[in-house]
Symmetry: C2
């Protein structure tokens, strides 16, 4: 009984340093929660370096290095753009390595650029120098073609399709809802770019019709999760919806995902946005959450350490204060399991680590990198 | 505020008579809960008569009539078989009208026959006489070819495919788990019969190989829900699983649904049944519940009264003490909403009524027929 009580206290105080928690028994795995790093300013994204280290973004505007031995370097990586603006939901967002990073050292990152009154999501890349102290030759390769006020709904997640092309998720700016249905600008879209920022010729809207050539999909609200389903190859995204309207979509080139013309959500004040749950010409979600959980990052688990988790989808939830595991067969969600609810933490991001662990970021001024590792239940528990 | 308090008390005391509850606001509908009938001995099934009345089974062994004006007749319908045995989960189970009932007056019902030490699920039919006081010419048209002890896992739900054939769901008897993988008997199967109980020639196991010719699907645990998805025509069933293993399946002729060789559930004492969640040669569920809810009846909503519920699946839960609404697109569950949780009642069955209402049975010694009808929220609430 004493052990159990200690465990509960440890979970409740998860913001405090801890090397390992007591084993947590769940539906298909027993794991311990380890703290990899802490004291990060709203950590937003994580990328695994070939040497076993990691890059972590702090939304506060710093790119940090965690060495292969687990040491969090005090000094951030130099070289971020001067026009990066930390405003409300904006700041430094995603970091992702080029698939050929081992050869070309290219690091991609998304961020909000501009001012509080005129800002936009941007994508840049630079070469990480050998001692990982700076990004060099940093260049903007994309920015949203719409200046917005306030600092809402930037999207910002990056997925490389392969070495040549990437997808960047975006939002509709929060107060520009209708622009999600206007494909002349990038608000509320997912864009597809070549790795140098140029436009792939096979993008669906390439041509002189006024629709932005970068667009891959549109009609989104605020997409903060993207990953490829390893079982099918399809690309899944999730987006923050209105109340009761957070959803998961499978991306199809050129498709309109309906926001705000069709949604399962209503306004947070209870008023109706639209009566349309389905609408001709718009794609239906394959999953939606009601109540909303505020999904902020997703990853399919591709490791072997947790045998029964392989192929499942993990979603980090802010308001929902959980890591959610969605059991996936082919392109279908067949069950849902909430994890880490006892921590009462907001979760920003989740990654399937090369070591088979599940990495999770907590969304706090003193945020953490946590790691779920396999554990055995004590026989006396 | 006073109105709200009264409403909560009314919901908490739902076993008591009540003509209408305060409106309940849910995700996609606002409804009131009306009591159609009460004082029923573990009501198990409900069939709508062409004249607006209903037949209701009491598991206690009585078939009752609710008249078109809502009156519950005191005297049960006469003519049930003498060998009907009320034991544990057994007794009088499902009632269903032949699709051409208006012409032929044929009523089908399933029940447990035999004794406490040797019983089995049976299916019978008879003609309802003009004044609805008796079933006449009652004949057994099917019974399970395996005598079992105790009174567990009878299945018992009926779905007419059309005027010619029907599906009857069965269970594996609870203590005969392995028999679900033995297609020589009917335990743990869904059988398909002509309306006179004979075997359709196009059943998958017709032939001299020892497999029972009545079998349509096998490898089930205890199927107590079946309905046709109106959007796709596919037949959905749910079954009680082991702990964490309640599942929904789409039936394919001849398919093995894996119990107990593959399951998401574990034993209720926490021990492992199998490591197999998936297994070559067995069909995967399209949904499973963890934690278990004990699903005891399902119906697709086909009415128009609740616009946004059309095409959704409703599941009555015993241990889960809720009516669950599953949002369905094509043959996919895309979200889940629990309803009626405040009632703290076990729900046995749900039907989409010809009047557009949703009918629900509570599983109690003094059980009820409830009806969800559209309501408006009071402006001052």
């Amino acid at each position: 009984m004493l052990r159990g009580s200690v465990s509960l206290i440890a979970l409740a105080c998860a913001a405090a340093p801890a090397l390992a928690q007591e084993p947590v028994e769940t539906e298909q795995a027993t794991f311990a929660v380890e703290t990899v790093a802490e004291g990060l300013g709203f950590p937003w994204s994580l990328a695994f370096l070939p040497d076993g280290g990691m890059l972590v973004t702090e939304r506060d505007g710093r790119l940090r290095v965690i060495e292969a031995d687990g040491t969090l370097r005090e000094d951030p990586v130099a070289g971020l753009p001067d026009d990066l603006v930390v405003v409300n939901q904006g700041g430094l967002l995603e970091v992702a390595l080029h698939p050929e990073f081992a050869d070309n050292r290219l690091v991609y990152f998304s961020y909000s650029e501009g001012t509080e009154d005129a800002n936009r999501t941007a994508l840049a890349r630079g070469r990480l120098n050998a001692d990982m102290t700076a990004l060099e030759n940093v260049e903007d390769i994309f920015h949203v073609n719409f200046d917005k006020r306030r600092g809402l709904h930037f999207g910002g997640r990056i997925l490389f399709e392969d070495s040549d092309t990437l997808l960047l998720t975006l939002g509709e700016g929060g107060i520009y809802t209708e622009e999600a249905q206007n494909p002349e600008n990038h608000l509320g879209t997912v864009v597809r770019l070549n790795d140098d920022g140029s436009i792939p010729e096979d993008n669906p809207f390439v041509g002189p019709d006024g629709r932005a050539d970068e667009i891959w999909t549109w009609g989104h609200r605020n997409v903060q999760g993207i990953d490829r389903n390893p079982a099918t190859g399809s690309v899944w995204t999730h987006e923050h919806g209105a109340r009761g309207g957070d959803e998961i979509n499978i991306l199809e080139a050129g498709a309109n995902y309906g926001w705000p013309e069709a949604t399962y959500g209503i306004n947070y004040d209870g008023t109706v946005i639209t009566e349309n749950r389905e609408l001709e010409g718009t794609a239906q979600p394959i999953w939606y959450w009601n109540p909303s959980i505020a999904p902020a990052g997703m990853a399919f688990y591709t490791g072997e350490a947790f045998e029964h988790w392989n192929g499942d989808l993990f979603v980090a939830a802010l308001a929902g204060q959980q890591l959610q595991r969605l059991e996936v067969i082919d392109d279908r969600v067949i069950s849902v399991e909430p994890l880490l609810e006892d921590m009462q933490a907001r979760f920003r991001y989740v990654r399937s680590g090369p070591d088979g662990a599940v990495y999770v970021l907590t969304d706090m001024p003193e945020g953490q990198v946590l790691r779920l590792v396999p554990a055995e239940t004590e026989e006396d528990e």
